[in-house]
Symmetry: C2
Subunit: 143 residues, 2 copies
């Protein structure tokens, strides 16, 4: 599961680097946590140089991406006990392919609207963030 | 490809029925066109009774869903020559699992924001709609 290798030429987009912290490298994707504490908000970034669309991945990579979406979604739901998962590949601003996986609650600042642009970002308490990442890593099986 | 069978107990959610027209049944999902002409906007609705999340599908269905997302995304991009594809499973309002696949252009009414809630829905010219559906069916290989 822990595979830090990336294809040559891949690096995390500076905007994603700035807006998130790294949790782990899964076989295909880097798993990130958004710095916005309004919602438990993960991102999967396939380490495929130049990919901006899901259709830029080959079929084996697409299958692996779905496997990682399933793995991460289940872990996020288990850790947060959320009401709904929101999963999206948008990328109108940051062109590097990235998949949002957001745990939504009926009392969160944007419900029922999507999260993008809905509320000003809110910083994490550092201890809460580390505790959340640790719980997520345990749930995914990353020790 | 044309497989109108659904698992027993499945029917399209009334809100999706109202907001879209059916293009075809793919092996797993019903393919719909949104009635909002602001953007070429497709939906894939897996015919799995009770599913509201991607993680409610089994792994074979998830693989098929990714195959259908790839197929439909490629056709939509080919027909529209769009600048970006937006793909999302949100479902905070309509609980039946549905995947949005939206063709975005830098001059569309919401760019670069996501489409949900961004602009009042705009009805299609009927001939334009039928022509778009025909082009999409040809591109997908549904004759």
């Amino acid at each position: 599961m822990n595979n830090a290798d990336s294809l040559p030429g891949w690096s995390l987009h500076p905007q994603l680097e700035q807006d998130s912290v790294t949790i782990a490298d899964l076989p295909l994707s880097r798993l990130l946590l958004s710095r916005d504490a309004n919602y438990p908000w993960l991102l999967l970034v396939p380490r495929h140089p130049g990919a901006s669309e899901v259709i830029d991945l080959g079929s084996v990579e697409q299958g692996q991406l779905m496997t990682e979406i399933d793995l991460v979604s289940r872990a996020l739901k288990a850790v947060t006990n959320c009401d709904k998962l929101n999963i999206a590949a948008i990328g109108n601003v940051v062109p590097q392919l990235h998949i949002h996986i957001v745990a939504r609650r009926r009392d969160d600042p944007a419900w029922p609207k999507p999260v993008w642009g809905a509320a000003a970002a809110c910083p994490y308490d550092l201890a809460a963030r580390e505790s959340f990442i640790a719980a997520l890593r345990r749930q995914i099986g990353l020790l």
